[in-house]
């Protein structure tokens, strides 16, 4: 039995199992913390910085997805300061690439767009950087458009941790970071890719999408992948009768 601990989230006393993240504990108690790089069933990396929370006694903001709960912890998930910082993080994501919702395949289904709407991002206060980044159309079924990539690395993790193919990596540093396929070859030349489509379904924006989908057509489903990953983690993927 995992050890039970007690903590307060937004003043509410919560008893939960040790070892889980603040994000998971908060979600389990119906508290909303925005997150883009987090996906249930995958490891957490704290890349998007949207899930930052205040922890009493800690002088800096901590990402809820990578900070484990501790006994006696007091966490604040909503405050003016957090809202301000989350907005900044979102605006910087928009400014860093070329996100044009109106002509995007994921318009209406995009997690980035959805969060921006929910968090009240009506404009971007930073100058857009308009980087010239590649679009990879070489895969027969899928496309990778770096204009819409937020470097959340969900595709990298789902490919490595669930599919086991290790097709995707992030190269470079900072704003120069780019999603690359197998040591920087084109996706069509990939020898590892199984064309399973997990990266497509995991991508929170229109960056990785199915070919031929026109604007506003690319809706995605992460639930089946999360279920599969969770069952695998519990060692049950080979059990007969388990419906994934």
């Amino acid at each position: 039995m995992p050890q039970k601990i007690s903590l307060r989230i937004d003043g509410e006393l919560i008893h939960t199992a040790a070892g889980q993240s603040i994000l998971d504990a908060a979600k389990a108690h119906n508290k909303f913390i925005p997150a883009l790089c987090h996906m249930k069933g995958l490891s957490s990396v704290g890349a998007c910085r949207l899930c930052i929370v205040e922890v009493a006694g800690v002088g800096r903001l901590l990402p809820a997805c990578t900070t484990p709960v501790q006994d006696g912890m007091s966490v604040t998930t909503q405050s003016d300061k957090l809202r301000r910082y989350r907005r900044i993080a979102l605006e910087l994501l928009f400014a860093e690439r070329n996100h044009v919702c109106a002509v995007c395949v994921s318009n209406g289904f995009c997690e980035l767009q959805g969060l921006a709407k929910r968090l009240g991002v009506t404009n971007v206060r930073y100058p857009y950087t308009y980087p010239k980044v590649p679009i990879d159309l070489t895969h027969p079924r899928y496309t990778a458009d770096q204009n819409r990539c937020i470097l959340c690395s969900r595709c990298v993790r789902v490919c490595a941790e669930v599919e086991g193919a290790h097709v995707w990596e992030i190269s470079g540093r900072g704003v120069g970071s780019r999603l690359v396929c197998e040591l920087n070859r084109s996706w069509g030349e990939s020898t590892n890719c199984t064309s399973c489509g997990k990266c497509v379904q995991s991508c929170p924006t229109g960056a990785i999408a199915e070919k031929g989908f026109a604007v506003e057509e690319m809706s995605k489903r992460t639930d089946p992948i999360s279920r599969l990953a969770t069952l695998r983690a519990a060692g049950s993927d080979n059990k007969p009768g388990v419906i994934l």
Partner: protein, 475 residues
């Protein structure tokens, strides 16, 4: 040094333009120039995008007739996929296009040009607009607003959105038409039809009130171009592109869309972002031709719907087999609007219109594709080249207003020669120069796929190059 008049900017048009009128030493018009003053670069920045995103991207060229760009673009994409789209999809696309013709023609006639026609070219410019129209001719204004609303709402019923819908996709459309939506559109048709009938009647009654305008508003022999069917019937969604001369003699038929470049050359103008297409076999600038309502009606043998056919016959009885004056764009536009609602009725009565087989699926089967349709303003051509992965390597868009560029320039000169005199601009003269531009219902933002800047300006230059006067005058 004789002066140049600048009309800066031309109002009640879509997009932005400036007109320069150069005078000679006697104060008479020496030359005129029509400048389209924006640059947008759609053909360049779409390079590298997947071809199937082109409909959504190029639709953003215009908010007035995005449906035209959507349809030309999806037709070009169909050609890249080398598919024949399912019959219901073709019917639905044509239906959407007809609805757009009705709304766009209503906007051009009622909102933009009716203030000139009903309030007078010399009336107070502060009131010479749709608001003034509501005051003086509330019925006409109401009709215009209702007709445009009908078209826009039909588009919304079909495609989900009035502006920039994502309904039309390469290979067809992405949602079938529900019986409810069909019935709803059908209920609006009788009122739309009666508005157009009434407007046509009123317009014909005042034809004689504008002798000077109909004589000098781009009244010149040119060639004409438009789409028409196998036996010459009027077409706006498909059909072959045909060129005729000023005597209705056929000049050429573009059998395959890809062959358009054999017949259409594009000259670059030094002082405008708008290129000047010309009919290649006749050369530049002799290959001047006109598109849009006037051109289409000159090309078509018949309309193909009963009431519009009757109107076409009367139009030709009044004005001749080939109608030469651009003033009659307005007349032709109303006949086309009538065709639009009649054709909508026919299409909505097709049993296949609510069929669910609406999309063909394919990858890249051809490395280039051309889509040609009739936008409300005239022939619209989208031409894309793609690599084997479907990435756009090159794009060329020839927009209706472009085809009319040479004719616009000629018309402006003709109007200026007739109405502009001396070094001082009179408001009525300026308005007539602007009004001839309006007759073509140009969409300048489309034509250059351009952005920014004011609408049309007018400047008056002396032969020595000094700016003598400009319009609007600096505050």
């Amino acid at each position: 040094m004789p002066p140049t008049i600048t009309i800066n900017h031309v109002t009640r048009i879509e997009g932005h333009a400036r007109i320069d009128i150069h005078l000679n030493d006697l104060g008479k018009v020496a030359s005129t120039q029509f400048h389209v003053t924006q640059f947008r670069g759609f053909e360049k920045f779409t390079e590298g995008r997947p071809y199937y995103e082109m409909p959504a991207i190029t639709a953003r060229i215009c908010g007035i007739c995005p449906v035209s760009h959507l349809l030309a673009s999806v037709k070009a994409c169909d050609a890249i996929m080398a598919v024949q789209i399912p019959e219901p999809a073709a019917l639905l696309r044509e239906l959407l296009h007809c609805a757009q013709f009705v709304q766009s023609h209503a906007l051009s006639f009622f909102h933009l040009s009716a203030p000139d026609l009903l309030l007078g070219f010399d009336s107070d410019p502060a009131l010479r607009n749709i608001v003034g129209l509501i005051e003086k001719h509330p019925e006409a204004a109401r009709d215009g607003i209702a007709l445009r609303k009908f078209g826009q709402q039909a588009i919304e019923r079909m495609a989900g959105e009035r502006i920039h819908p994502s309904w039309t996709v390469p290979g067809g459309v992405n949602k079938p038409l529900s019986a409810d939506a069909r019935d709803h559109i059908l209920t609006g048709l009788p009122i739309a039809k009666s508005i157009i009938r009434r407007t046509l009647k009123n317009f014909k009654a005042m034809l004689d009130d504008f002798p000077a305008e109909s004589a000098a508003f781009g009244n010149m022999p040119t060639a004409y171009a438009g789409l028409s069917g196998l036996d010459g019937e009027f077409k706006i969604y498909d059909g072959a592109l045909r060129f005729i001369d000023n005597t209705a003699k056929p000049l050429a038929t573009v059998a395959r869309p890809l062959d358009y470049s054999k017949y259409i050359g594009e000259a670059t103008m030094p002082d405008s972002y708008l290129k000047a297409p010309y009919f290649k076999p006749l050369g530049y600038p002799e290959g001047i031709y006109r598109v849009g309502p006037l051109g289409r009606l000159n090309v078509a043998a018949r309309m193909g719907t009963p009431e519009a056919d009757g109107e076409l016959e009367e139009y030709r009885q009044r004005l001749g087999r080939i109608v030469q004056s651009s003033f009659f764009y307005h007349y032709a536009r109303l006949i086309e609007a009538l065709y639009g609602v009649e054709r909508m009725e026919e299409l909505l009565s097709e049993p296949l219109i609510t069929d669910t087989h609406i999309r063909a699926d394919a990858g890249v089967n051809a490395n280039q594709g051309v889509g040609i349709i009739e936008a409300p303003r005239g022939v619209l051509i989208h031409h894309y080249k793609v690599d084997d992965n479907g990435s756009i390597t090159w794009a060329n868009l020839i927009v209706a207003t472009g085809h009319n560029n040479l004719a616009l320039n000629h018309s402006i000169r003709q109007v200026a020669e007739q109405f502009v005199d001396g070094a001082q601009l009179k408001e009525g003269a300026v308005n007539r120069v602007s009004a001839v531009v309006r007759a073509y219902d140009p969409c300048l933002s489309c034509s250059t796929h351009a952005y920014g800047g004011p609408a049309v300006n007018l400047r008056l230059w002396s032969p020595q190059g000094e700016l003598v006067d400009s319009w609007p005058r600096p505050e």
